[in-house]
């Protein structure tokens, strides 16, 4: 349209680029700012609890910090705790981006980890270069299969994924429990045979002696690579575009040629696949066997990690590190304050983020405006 006066908001080309920059900056500030403020608030509240039981919050926090990020051993422990949380956090975040609430990461990771172990202790004749990728693949496929089921049920019959994933968690835990106690068991234990030596992946201490004693292993790099891949997938590929469209407005996505049913199934498959990789850490990098009940809620913690990380892969990695630190830090300060305190702290972080998203979000908006005036 030919309009004579274009001074108001029709920007010249250079202006457009500058504006693009400032929009990005604002977005970044908003994304990182809220969790950080929430975190500060959570630790503030935690300090009250510590003081209430008669301890010095400053000293406790100093010990917490020193024990986790103060030396390589502690840091290694944090990384070790964070690794499975990255996988499960990514799983939940990816499903969430597609508008699906995957409560089933726990079940998916059991099935995935068991599959990894099964390949590892069954196909023992294969050389490492074949067996390692095969074990990883088995984990991803096992988890994916367990994700596809609720995905298909939702796509085909419209049954809600929350109910189905919860039910599938029960089935997965019972099924793997049965297999490990009745079929592939070592007498007197609740774990499977060990995977072949060539299926075991190295710990970081093997290249980096400073990490000595900490079980953090190279599956950490697989987790980081997975985060990068999820980012690329969601924001750089057309399938990712379709999944995000589906998550934000399924009506418009359908209109734009996105297959709604296939999109749901695909999102759940990918989500389950990511969860299934948790076994790479535990089975191939830590215990070298599958153990009943090994996860102890990693799949559920993934929901909190995804939430805190705002469903963004980078956010998930940072959130997983934080939860890893809190979880190991609980052991560190166990001598002075009860470990339950750390659990309270974790819960406060989650609540603070939810509240903060609303509260500080509004604050950030008004600040933004002021800075732009």
């Amino acid at each position: 349209m030919n309009r004579t006066d274009t001074d108001f908001d029709a920007t010249p080309e250079t202006g457009a680029a500058r504006q693009a920059g400032s929009v990005l900056l604002l977005k970044l500030g908003g994304t990182l700012g809220v969790p950080l403020v929430a975190l500060a608030a959570a630790f503030g509240a935690g300090a009250l609890f510590i003081a209430a039981i008669g301890q010095d919050p400053g000293a406790v926090y100093a010990r917490l910090l020193g024990g986790t990020f103060g030396d390589f051993y502690g840091f290694g422990q944090v990384l070790f705790k964070a690794t499975p949380l990255i996988f499960s956090g990514l799983a939940v975040a990816l499903a969430f981006k597609a508008g699906l609430f995957n409560i089933g990461a726990e079940g998916q990771l059991y099935v995935g980890a068991f599959s990894t172990a099964w390949v590892g202790f069954t196909l023992t004749g294969l050389p490492g270069v074949v067996l390692v990728p095969l074990c990883i693949l088995a984990g991803a496929l096992g988890g994916a299969a367990w994700g596809i089921i609720p995905g298909y049920l939702k796509a085909r019959f419209g049954t809600h994924e929350v109910i189905n994933t919860i039910m599938l968690n029960f089935i997965a835990i019972a099924l793997t429990g049965y297999l490990v106690t009745h079929v592939y068991f070592i007498p007197e234990t609740i774990h499977t045979p060990r995977v072949a030596a060539q299926a075991q992946i190295p710990r970081l201490e093997q290249f980096w002696p400073a990490f000595r004693g900490s079980p953090v292993n190279v599956s950490l790099f697989l987790a980081l690579a997975a985060a990068a891949l999820v980012y690329v997938f969601l924001w750089r590929t057309k399938q990712g575009f379709e999944l995000r469209a589906l998550g934000l407005n399924p009506w418009a996505a359908e209109y734009g040629g996105v297959g709604v049913a296939s999109g749901i199934v695909m999102a759940m498959a990918l989500s389950g696949g990511l969860a299934g990789l948790v076994g790479v850490d535990f089975v191939m990098g830590y215990k070298y066997y599958y153990e009943q009940g090994f996860s102890a809620g990693v799949g559920f913690m993934g929901i909190a990690v995804a939430l805190l990380g705002r469903n963004h892969p980078l956010g998930v990695v940072l959130a997983a590190l934080l939860f890893g630190a809190l979880s190991y830090g609980g052991l560190v300060i166990n001598s002075v304050v009860p470990k339950e305190l750390v659990e309270i702290l974790q819960a406060i972080v989650i609540v603070a983020v939810i509240v903060g998203t609303n509260l500080f979000g509004a604050l950030a908006v008004s600040l933004k405006k002021r800075s732009l005036k």
Partner: protein
């Protein structure tokens, strides 16, 4: 309102606006898309806080921090997108948030119903408190919204583009109600893009442009041409110039198509029509006679239960939306926020929706963000979408600019067949003119255009042929040059011989 300013991240939506509305008048607020009308009204209703300036009611300075402040000051607002809960009854919806009770505990719906009936009579609203809201037509839902505000004792009613979703008949009925309310001493602030409505209903008009007020005039001292001039700063042509059509072969043919509607009741009952290359076929009809389902069937969004859909002679019955897109069918949906846009996607992403799977926007796997930006720059410039920022959330654009975004995307496909449902809904007069010209030039390039519009004058001025839809069938097809609103109006009520 005095000196009111409001700034969003990149845009000054209101720039020291003064607006004065007198008690007991119907005051129209007009202006281009993005001029800041909705923003100003949201400030008045307490949804946004102004950065500066203030609001006075009856000469007293007031601070409106939230809608509940506004309501207690007697200010009520009907949003363009209704805020009703479809599963509840009319009475339940009306009392929501201000429930009358017996002895402070029990909901007293009977008393509420009596009050609703009383108000309904007083303002000729014809609202029945009993039915469930989702059983009502759009016009009736809007009257429920109005009644809801009156129920809370509003003296000043804000209506943001109330007629955009109404049929001409419903608009007429609304005007009767508005006049009735004026008689009873209520004050009405009314936003519209249709100057004929301004002339018909308002006492005074405030014209906004680019965040500021450019003039206030008494309606009887002005004309549509003058208002248009004030709004866009140039003369606007209300009628599109168009030469005779040079139609080619049939592009789209529907043969005896039957389909179910949203609540699984039959909506298309043996509908047949054909659109040729290089012509605009208008579909005229009273809303709810199968238009929505017709458009969805063509776009692949709804599967017909029987009958055939042919595209250039090829049977595409039951094809998916993607297959239809790939075959060159473009579709401007009637509801831009539900179907047409992803509010939380950026403007640039929205502009490739539906083409995102093919060149130049994507290879086998990856999206090409450079192509996305190039496309956005072109489309935003060509269609004058403001602000011209590809990375902005589409949801933060003004209503009319969102519509322009959808139109820009669909016309940008170079389609074989363009299905345009309410293409000019909510856009300003300058943009209406532009979009209409685009439709005609698409036709001249050989595109087959199917135009579905509730605006009879739009159908009449753009179409080459007009198909009248009634009860899920095309009851007659007439030459646009040889008919008029009166004849169409008659045919639309089903008074005509069915033709094949």
């Amino acid at each position: 309102m005095e000196g009111v300013s409001k700034r969003f991240a990149l845009v000054k939506a209101n720039d020291s606006v003064n607006l004065e509305v007198e008690r007991g008048e119907i005051h129209a607020l007009v202006g281009e898309n993005g001029a800041g009308k909705s923003t100003l009204m949201r400030i008045l209703y307490g949804l946004y806080r102004p950065d500066s300036g203030h609001v006075s009611i009856d000469g007293k300075r007031v601070e409106i921090k939230s809608p509940s402040d506004a309501i207690s000051l007697g200010v009520g607002m009907v949003h363009q997108h209704f805020m009703l809960i479809p599963q509840l009854s009319v009475a339940e919806n009306v009392v929501l948030g201000s429930e009358p009770s017996r002895s402070g505990v029990f909901l007293d719906l009977a008393a509420a119903s009596r009050r609703i009936e009383e108000l309904s009579r007083l303002f000729a609203l014809s609202v029945d408190p009993r039915p469930q809201v989702d059983k009502l037509s759009v016009g009736a839902q809007q009257r429920v919204e109005i009644l809801k505000i009156l129920f809370r004792g509003a003296e000043l009613l804000i209506l943001d583009e109330p007629t955009a979703v109404l049929t001409p008949q419903e608009t007429e009925a609304l005007f009767v109600i508005l006049r009735k309310m004026r008689e009873q001493g209520k004050t009405i602030l009314f936003i519209t893009h249709k100057l004929s409505e301004v002339m018909a209903i308002s006492d005074r008009v405030t014209v906004m442009r680019r965040g500021g007020v450019v003039g206030v005039v008494a309606t009887r001292d002005t004309s549509p041409a003058e208002l248009a001039m004030m709004m866009v700063g140039r003369k606007v042509l209300f009628d599109v110039e168009k030469g005779p059509a040079a139609p080619g072969g049939a592009v789209l043919e529907l043969v005896d198509v039957r389909a179910l509607g949203a609540s699984r009741v039959p909506r298309l009952k043996g509908l047949s029509l054909s659109v040729r290359a290089g012509e605009i076929l208008g579909v005229a009809g009273v809303e709810g006679n199968g238009q929505t389902e017709l458009v969805e069937v063509i776009a692949g969004l709804r599967k017909p239960t029987s009958g055939r859909v042919l595209l250039r002679g090829e049977d595409v019955t039951g094809a998916s939306p993607k297959q239809m897109l790939e075959r060159g069918v473009a579709h401007i949906p009637e509801d831009r926020l539900r179907r047409g846009l992803i509010a939380d996607f950026t403007v640039g992403e929205n502009l490739i929706l539906g083409s995102h799977f093919r060149r130049p926007y994507a290879g086998r796997v990856f999206l090409d963000s450079a192509a996305l930006l190039t496309n956005a720059d072109r489309a935003l410039r060509e269609f004058d979408v403001r602000p011209r920022t590809p990375l902005l959330r589409a949801g933060s654009l003004s209503g009319g600019n969102q519509q322009k975004l959808v139109v820009a995307r669909e016309l940008g496909r170079n389609p074989l067949l363009l299905v345009a449902a309410q293409p000019t809904r909510g856009v300003d007069i300058g943009a209406i003119e532009f979009i209409r010209r685009c439709l005609v030039s698409q036709r001249d390039e050989g595109t087959a255009v199917l135009l579905v519009s509730a605006d009879l004058s739009e159908v009449l001025s753009l179409s080459d042929r007009i198909a009248v839809i009634f009860g899920g069938r095309i009851v007659s097809t007439v030459d646009a040059a040889a008919t008029d609103e009166k004849e169409l109006g008659l045919l639309m009520t089903g008074a005509g011989r069915p033709t094949a």
